[in-house]
Amino acid sequence: MTTFVRHWGELAAAAAWVAAWIWIALHIHALRMRVASGGGESLWADAWNRLAKNRMAIISAWTISVIGLACLVGPWLLDATYGITYFAQNLPLGAVPPSWSNHHWFGTDPHGRDVLVRVLVGGQISIAVGIVGGTVAATVGTLYGTISGYAGGKIDEVMMRIVEALYALPFMLIVIVLGAVLGAVFEEKQKEQDAADAQQQAPSAKIRRTESGAEDAKKQEQGAKGSSIFILLFVAIGLVAWPTLARVIRGQVLGLKRREFVLAAHAIGTSPWRIIRWHLIPNILGIVIVYTTLMMPSLVLSEAFLSYLGLGVPAPLASWGSLIADGATVMDVHLWRLAFPATIMCVTLFAFNFLGDGLRDALDPKLRGVD
């Protein structure tokens, strides 16, 4: 993947991101129109009204969308206007503090790489972990919890015993092991690549060259290609979190199961799968959204934790965790290398927390103040 292709990928993702937020905004607008014109107040309209009154939640939603957009579009902008990329080394400009004049607004690291663009690219990785991991956890957890709750009886008991056993164990350790192994696999692949490239000069068109351009351009290419195996790591991070969601969903389904509309559907002969799909899942969607949003910070933190230990995504790719790891060691001399990644990460995590709390309050005010 060349820089060119990478940027096209980023812009496509940015377009999808903006489209998603616009879709949400349109939906909400339609709800408000319906309520204003005297139509029925559905559960979602009611929830939206409460959410809209929660200033912190709205600010958080905006923050997340802006940071996400910046992470996706920023690297391309910086590359197009100033020629700054996350892997381009520029040793003469190594470890300079932030300044306006040389376009390095967040400063540089000892290799001369711009910190701002590395934070943005790191953001791509970290938010991707949140989304991939969150989707995995939500899907597995919802399915498991729904089936367990709906089936009831022996099946439910066995399934819940399994979840209880999993709940309190440090599966993060298995992820660490997985990270170690994936790192080793990646190194092997790199060695093979290097050996193969030594035999033939690998052509790489359309790559920007700097002082040591050829060297790290190839590294970046390999890094991007090989790091796709780290998607596996993101999935594993998501799999650490699903038991919590499964328990919550099961509780909800148990409550819903006794309601009359499920009984009625059953009485007219609806198959269990249809009941789950059409009656149960729409009603638990709210809870799923709330708990997934609340789970995002811990997923991002897990990935940061792995990168801090050196078991996450490989160099030269950055994630917030690896940037913080590098910055923490030189905190007393190069404060900007710790301050900027740490601040951006903490702001994003705060935003997810507030948004999740706001969603929970909006969907069920009775839950306010209770975890």
Binding site: A168, L173, A180, G310, G369
Partner: protein, 345 residues
């Protein structure tokens, strides 16, 4: 007896969990490229043959798995990184020096601090390995429970006051900021700049303070939120009103009636908190240079020393499962409703 059948069920779950964990780690290890003991050094053929035999590498995979489990159970873990001592002594450092017969703990020792001062302190802390991590972990858990629950109960009683908002804001910080940011920050501010406490190292009680605070900070935040939530639910319950109507003084209402049920979420969270502290201690030991099992875990992972890595992982899983069982047992004893008695008339 009810408790016995419950115990039997839990032991079966424990066994199943261990089997799953060992299988998972074994499978991942087999998927790793190269040999499980490969380093960049050359190994003599005789040694290599011995290792292959110890790991049953020439046998079919189910025999290998059994070999793997047996090795772990007996503690004979082949590892290339440690030549003068067995890996088990890294995890469980001995309390007695075999050669000289002197004890290695609970004696007065002369130490030279990093700034040159000489002191004579009582050596209470273990040398390293699992025991050291245990000390730090327990300390962090006690810190988290003590600070968290107190703050949560306080905040619940004075709901929506300034103190409530401050405490919950603090809790938000604790949950969001990772311990590998707080750790270096504390080490830098308190250790390097202010010089009140050592920013790294191991051996004296003062070395415990910063790691315990770093490790426990996030969980104090969690316990704070949970205890506040649990207390808020209980505060409005009818039986609290009954107690008040009987004339029970406020302090007794808090301790006897509200805490007993309000702290239920806290007890439920003890399990995940313990496992989170185990995981968090990995980072904290790296930051503060504590020779505990967490740091050995990371070093094994980075050095691709798989056998030792798997052994430590399985060990930690076993310990935590047993700890969870004990917590569940005490939970059953505290709340009589979970014992499954039927209503009589």
């Amino acid at each position: 007896m009810h408790i016995l059948s419950w115990l039997r069920r839990k032991c079966i779950m424990l066994a199943i969990t261990l089997v799953v964990v060992t299988l998972a780690t074994f499978a991942i290890m087999k998927a790793a490229p190269g040999n499980p003991y490969a380093t960049d050094r050359k190994i003599e053929p005789a040694v290599e043959r011995a290792i292959r035999k110890a790991l049953c590498l020439d046998e079919p995979w189910h025999v290998q798995y059994w070999c793997y489990v047996k090795n772990m159970a007996t503690g004979e873990i082949p590892s290339m990184r440690y030549e003068d001592k067995t890996p088990m002594s890294v995890i469980f450092p001995s309390l007695y020096d075999q050669r000289t017969g002197k004890q290695r703990i609970l004696y007065w020792e002369d130490r030279t601090r990093y700034d040159g001062t000489k002191v004579r302190v009582l050596k209470i802390l273990p040398d390293g390995g699992l025991f050291a991590s245990f000390v730090v972990g327990c300390g962090a858990l006690l810190f988290a429970i003590g600070v968290g629950v107190t703050a949560g109960v306080f905040a619940a009683k004075r709901r929506n006051s300034l103190i409530d908002h401050c405490l919950m804001g603090w809790a938000m910080i604790g949950i969001t900021v990772p311990n590998f940011v707080i750790g270096p920050l504390l080490a830098y501010v308190v250790g390097t700049r202010l010089g009140w406490l050592p920013s790294s190292g191991w051996g004296e009680l003062r070395h415990l303070v910063l790691p315990i605070i770093t490790l426990g900070f996030a969980y104090a935040a969690y316990f704070g939120r949970f205890s506040r939530g649990g207390m808020l639910e209980v505060l409005n319950e009818d039986y609290v009103r009954t107690a008040r109507a009987k004339g029970v003084p406020e302090w007794r209402i808090t301790v006897w009636h509200e805490l007993k049920l309000g702290l239920q979420p806290v007890v439920t969270f003890l399990g995940p908190a313990a496992s989170g502290i185990v995981v968090g201690s990995i980072v904290v030991e790296t930051v503060f240079q504590i020779p505990g099992i967490g740091r050995h875990l990371v070093e094994s992972a980075l050095a691709r020393d798989y056998t030792l890595l798997m052994a430590m992982t399985v060990l930690l899983f076993t310990l935590l499962s047993v700890a969870n069982m004990i917590v569940d047992l005490s939970y059953q004893l505290i709340d009589p409703r979970t014992r499954g008695k039927e209503a009589t008339s």
